[in-house]
C-alpha cells in the first residue's frame, strides 16, 4: 500500500494538497488545531493512494513524504533513503 505522511504540527492549512489529490484522500480536519493555530491537513490512510507525489510537489511547507510499496526509482534530485 502506498502512503504519505504529513507533519501536521507545521501545516498551515492552505489546502493545496487537498486540491492536488485526485483521489480525494487528503482533507482539512476542522476538529483539530495545531500549535500554529491552523486546521491541519490529514491523510485518510486510503488504500487508493497511488503515491503520485502531487501533494508533496505542491506543499509550500515541504511537510509531505511519499512512500511507495514498489515502484520506480526515487526521484533523482531527492535524497531519499
Amino acid at each position: 500500500m502506498n502512503k504519505i505522511t504529513i507533519r501536521e504540527e507545521r501545516c498551515k492549512g492552505c489546502a493545496y494538497c487537498v486540491l492536488a489529490c485526485k483521489r480525494e484522500l487528503i482533507r482539512i480536519d476542522p476538529e483539530r488545531i495545531n500549535n500554529l493555530g491552523y486546521n491541519p491537513a490529514v491523510f485518510s490512510n486510503g488504500e487508493a493512494c497511488t503515491g503520485c507525489a502531487l501533494c508533496a510537489e505542491i506543499c509550500p511547507e515541504v511537510l509531505i513524504e511519499v512512500f511507495r510499496e514498489r515502484g520506480k526509482v526515487a526521484l533523482k534530485w531527492q535524497n531519499a533513503e
Binding site: 507545521r10 492552505c14 507525489a53 508533496a56 505542491i58 509550500p60 511547507e61 512512500f67 531527492q78 531519499a80
Partner: protein, 263 residues
C-alpha cells in the same frame, strides 16, 4: 516500502515564516533540490534581495550574502567575479528586482554576468503590506491603488522576462508558474536549465516564477490559484523566451506528466 519524496538535504528542517498558501516555500524547495542534484551545497552563494525571501539564510544551508534593496545583482556580480568557481544566484521579488533594482538587473544582464537570477513575481510588495508594484495587474486593488491600478496614472505591468530576453548577454530567460503540481514540475525543468546555463558558463540566466500572495491579494489560497489561472497568466504568459543552449536538451522528449496520467 520505499520513500520516493522527502525534504531535500540542503533545505534545513525549520518551519517557514511564509503565510499559508505562499509559493516561496516551493521555490526554496526547488532550489534545494537542484543544489543537491548538482552537488553545489559547498560552493553555492545565494544573494537574497529585500522582501519576504530575505530570510533565505534561515532555510537553505549554503553561504548567503544579504544585499541592499534592489542591489542583489550588483552584489552577485562582485561575488561571481571574485569566486568564478562558485555557483551564485540572486533571489528577488518584484518590488526588489522590478522596481528599485531594475537598473542593476538590466546592466548585469547586458554584461552577461554568469549567474542566475531567481525572480519571484507576486504582483505586490508582499513584505511591506501589499502596495502596488511595477508588476501589479491593471485593475488590481492594492493598498496604494485602492480603486485598482489605472494605466493613465500608474502605467502598465512590467514584463521582466520579455524585457531581458533580447539582451545579448542573456543566455536563458523564462517564466514559469507554481499554482498546480504540473506547473511545479515544469518550473523544476526550467530551473534545471537555468542552473545548467550557469554551470556551462554561457552567461546570464533569468527565471521568473509567478507566485501567489494570498494575504495581500485578500484571497484564500484556493482563490489565489484561480486568480493566477484566470488573470495572472493572461497578463504574464509563461514560456521560455531565450535559451542559447536549447538545441541539445529542448528537443528532448517531455518528461512524463503525472498530473494527467492515470497511475
Amino acid at each position: 516500502m520505499q520513500k520516493i519524496f522527502a525534504r531535500p538535504a540542503t533545505l534545513l528542517d525549520t518551519g517557514f515564516h511564509f503565510c499559508p498558501g505562499c509559493h516561496h516555500g516551493i521555490v526554496h524547495r526547488l532550489l534545494c533540490e537542484m543544489l543537491d542534484h548538482y552537488g553545489l551545497r559547498e560552493r553555492a552563494v545565494g544573494v537574497p534581495g529585500v522582501g519576504c525571501g530575505v530570510f533565505l539564510y534561515d532555510y537553505i544551508d549554503i553561504d548567503v550574502c544579504e544585499a541592499p534593496h534592489g542591489r542583489a545583482t550588483a552584489v552577485a556580480t562582485g561575488i561571481k567575479r571574485v569566486q568564478p568557481d562558485h555557483f551564485v544566484f540572486t533571489y528577488q521579488g518584484d518590488g526588489d528586482l522590478g522596481a528599485i533594482g531594475t537598473a542593476e538587473v538590466i546592466h548585469a544582464a547586458n554584461r552577461g554576468e554568469n549567474f542566475t537570477v531567481i525572480f519571484v513575481n507576486n504582483a505586490v510588495y508582499g513584505m511591506t503590506g501589499g502596495q502596488m508594484a511595477p508588476t501589479t495587474l491593471l485593475g488590481q486593488c492594492t493598498t496604494t491603488s485602492p480603486a485598482g491600478r489605472d494605466s493613465r496614472n500608474d502605467g502598465y505591468p512590467l514584463h521582466l522576462a520579455e524585457l531581458l530576453a533580447p539582451l545579448e548577454g542573456v543566455a536563458f530567460a523564462a517564466r514559469v508558474s507554481l499554482h498546480t503540481p504540473a506547473h511545479v514540475k515544469k518550473a523544476r525543468r526550467a530551473l534545471q536549465r537555468a542552473f545548467e546555463t550557469q554551470l556551462e558558463k554561457r552567461g546570464f540566466s533569468f527565471l521568473e516564477f509567478i507566485s501567489a500572495c494570498p494575504t495581500n491579494w485578500r484571497l484564500t489560497p484556493y482563490q489565489s490559484v484561480e486568480h493566477i489561472e484566470k488573470n495572472m497568466l493572461r497578463a504574464f504568459p509563461l514560456g521560455t523566451y531565450k535559451d542559447t543552449g536549447a538545441p541539445a536538451s529542448a528537443a528532448a522528449p517531455e518528461e512524463e506528466d503525472t498530473a494527467n496520467a492515470v497511475l
